[in-house]
Symmetry: C2
Subunit: 202 residues, 2 copies
């Protein structure tokens, strides 16, 4: 053991974050410990706050300090347009691009017959409720260009065309590189993909 158990525990916790290996976790812990007022306390308080306040939006699956989330509450967003994404990270990426001003549905995953993930594992409650209330004009499928993303999009397309033939279903068009997750794309690619979305025929 190098440092005290408390410090080693902090390093272990930091090392489990994506993007931080054991070595950079050690550097990060040291940077925190060497600046208790300006780094450690603010990060500690930020974590306490989100742990206390942030929850999954019951309508769309977004993460926010209020429920329903700020996006679901926003009166200036297009109410009858729903964009279906896999993860909150994908939602954040689309929001950062500024290209989309409707509502969202965060599935929380994708269909994967091999992994045993069926439609019952997807978060679809909010979408189903909005469809049932007749609020939806168009559903944009913004799933990743992966096998699982395509499988999920295909199932959603069938489901929507079957149950709500009056609702338009489209998916993001050109611009999605194969195998890429939405989250890592730049804003321009996301804007182009959104602008070039194409309607899916039954």
């Amino acid at each position: 053991m190098t440092a005290s158990p408390d410090i080693e525990n902090l390093i272990t916790r930091l090392a489990r974050l994506p993007g931080l290996g054991p070595r950079s976790a050690r550097r990060a812990a040291l940077a925190l410990l060497q600046a208790p007022q300006t780094r450690l306390q603010p990060l500690s308080e930020a974590l306490e706050t989100v742990a206390r306040t942030v929850q999954t939006c019951p309508e769309c699956g977004n993460l926010d300090s209020q429920a329903p989330c700020a996006l679901c509450r926003a009166p200036d967003r297009t109410q009858d347009l729903i964009c279906v994404v896999e993860t909150v990270g994908d939602l954040w990426a689309l929001e950062r691009s500024g290209a989309y001003r409707g509502h969202y549905q965060v599935l929380g995953g994708t269909l994967s017959p091999l992994a045993g993930t069926g439609p019952e594992h997807l978060n679809l409650a909010g979408l189903r409720a909005r469809l049932a209330r007749g609020e939806v004009r168009e559903v944009i499928l913004a799933l990743g260009a992966t096998v699982e993303g395509a499988t999920t999009a295909h199932w959603l397309q069938s489901y929507l065309l079957d149950s709500h033939p009056d609702v338009r279903v489209s998916q993001l068009g050109q611009g999605l590189p194969m195998g890429g997750a939405l989250e890592v794309l730049d804003d321009g690619t996301l804007m182009a993909a959104l602008a070039a979305r194409r309607e899916l025929q039954g």
Copy 2:
């Protein structure tokens, strides 16, 4: 703004850690929020604990949950050998190498005439006290192979030979790549440098 103010604040705090840019801070925040029980709470508690317990050792300048630190208290470490390092990160690197079993003095910086950093800005109290008590047989200067490190080593060498001519002064030998900080060296390099330390003549 993409996420809620609380989440954006967390991302901002994470992005200020060394090794995490804005993009990876966003991914890290999402990973924390999506696993509140297994990631967020443990990290939050680890930070609270170190904020409450960790302090600078009044003897050597190490960071630890007790004062004096575990290294200064350890009865099985060589009591009359002091290794002078620039930072706690350097101390950790030497401890990880397992090559050193004496005491430390963490300077907290280096001499830099250009930056206006003089000897009065270095943490030397513990070393001075140990020298005054006649406890020290050898001081190992383990400073980085930089201009500032060399300046600091030179000053310390003069100071020690002047004030305590009976104390041996050595510095890390072969193995230190030029311009490199100790903290990023592998254990083998550190062990070789320590084994090949050479005594400095007045």
